[in-house]
């Protein structure tokens, strides 16, 4: 039976829901790793949230749904675009985490052009997650999305250390990136380097860091004390970063 939408409209600019989505530009920069940790953070503090897996590559391994079976798989290339963003709000979750696949830009931009005002009127705010790595293409991708989204969203930049040490010089010293920071004043957090044996095994088996940290897995490489402690430290450090920018992550 169809249930009535539960979005409560506050005409006095009240935000009732927040959609947090990874900007789907460059591939392989840690979008899903980030979305997974963010979902864990919401779960850890008891914030009701819905998950949408928009990775159109339909990967059996390493997609958001591989980690969380309750994540809803959506094909953003369909005509209705990102309508699933707002459809899941009907289920009553004030927060939606959407993990976009690489190359979802065109769809997202069209959707924002036609639907953003309506969403705003209904108290829905958006946070665009831009992941930057030492790769200059990741910076270009963030800036290109900002050129489309403008001030319709809040921005959270995640400096993802995919190597150790990581040089974020393209993000930190480029003039365009500097202009982006000046105009949008994004939140900026760091995602620390993860050992490949933990990262790859977790992806391979669809195991969350929470499961590793609490020894709820029987994967040998993830069950070692060092892996467990690393997962615990990784969660603690990244959760502290999330706490720092929680205004961008909560309605």
């Amino acid at each position: 039976m169809a249930t009535a939408p539960q979005i409560v409209k506050f005409p006095q600019s009240g935000i009732t829901s927040r959609i947090v989505f990874t900007q789907g530009g460059k591939g392989g920069i840690g979008k899903t790793a980030f979305a997974t940790m963010l979902a864990e953070w919401y779960a850890a503090q008891g914030t009701p949230h819905a998950l949408i897996d928009m990775d159109s590559e339909n990967k059996s391994k390493g997609s958001l749904r591989h980690f969380f079976s309750q994540a809803r798989k959506t094909n953003v290339q369909q005509a209705r675009g990102l309508d699933e963003f707002v459809n899941v709000l009907d289920e009553g979750s004030p927060v939606v985490v959407a993990d976009m696949g690489a190359g979802a830009g065109e769809v997202a931009h069209r959707w924002f052009d036609s639907m953003h005002e309506q969403a705003k009127e209904n108290g829905v705010a958006f946070t665009a997650i831009g992941l930057v790595t030492p790769d200059p293409a990741s910076v270009a991708s963030v800036l290109a999305w900002a050129g489309f989204l403008q001030k319709r969203v809040d921005y959270l930049i995640v400096k993802n250390s995919i190597s150790n040490p990581s040089d974020f010089g393209y993000w930190e010293t480029d003039a365009h990136a500097d202009e982006f920071r000046r105009v949008f004043e994004p939140g900026v957090i760091s995602m620390e380097y993860r050992l490949p044996e933990i990262e790859h095994e977790a992806r391979n088996h669809g195991v969350t860091m929470q499961a590793v940290a609490s020894r709820q897995t029987n994967i040998p490489a993830l069950n070692r004390t060092a892996s467990v402690w690393r997962a615990q430290a990784y969660r603690r450090n990244l959760f502290a970063e999330f706490d720092r920018v929680k205004d961008l992550l909560l309605p």
Binding site: V139, A140, L143, Q150, D167, G169, T173, E179, F180, V183
Partner: protein, 146 residues
């Protein structure tokens, strides 16, 4: 009546700016007339306008506004049909156009006039605060230049 104009007259018509509403009550015309039809007094409408719409108006201008717009216009005589009546296969009662009462016509005209006077709602354009040309962008890492 055929309302089509010659291209030249149409161009003049198109280039003539619309007059501003003569009364600042014009945007509230439908609301005011509905209140009157509900039997609300001018004093009560005056208070409602001030309270709900933040429009201050004296009693007399309000009364004149309502009376002028409620006055039925002269009804034009029905034009005599000059085209021969074409018999149709449809039964007479189905082919006949239902006539509107005078009150319904006035209401129709009011609705059309209100639609004309209603300010156009412009689509909100996204304010562009950041320009980025990805095609011509070469990121710079100053750490590599030192």
């Amino acid at each position: 009546m055929d309302q089509r104009l010659s291209p030249e007259l149409q161009r003049i018509f198109d280039n003539t700016p619309e007059d501003k509403p003569r009364s600042r009550l014009e945007p509230y015309r439908e609301l005011i007339l509905l209140w009157r039809r509900q039997g609300k007094s001018y004093r009560r409408i005056q208070a409602l306008l001030a309270d709900k719409c933040q429009v201050g108006i004296a009693y007399e201008p309000l009364r004149r506004f309502v009376q002028r717009r409620n006055r039925p216009r002269k009804v034009q005589p029905e034009p005599i049909a000059v085209t021969p009546v074409v018999e149709t296969a449809a039964p007479l009662d189905q082919a006949a156009i239902p006539r509107l009462s005078l009150e319904e016509r006035i209401a129709q005209r009011e609705a059309i006039r209100a639609a004309h006077n209603k300010p156009s709602v412009k689509r909100e354009e996204t304010e562009r605060v950041f320009e980025f040309d990805e095609a011509n962008y070469i990121p710079v890492n100053k750490n590599y230049n030192t």
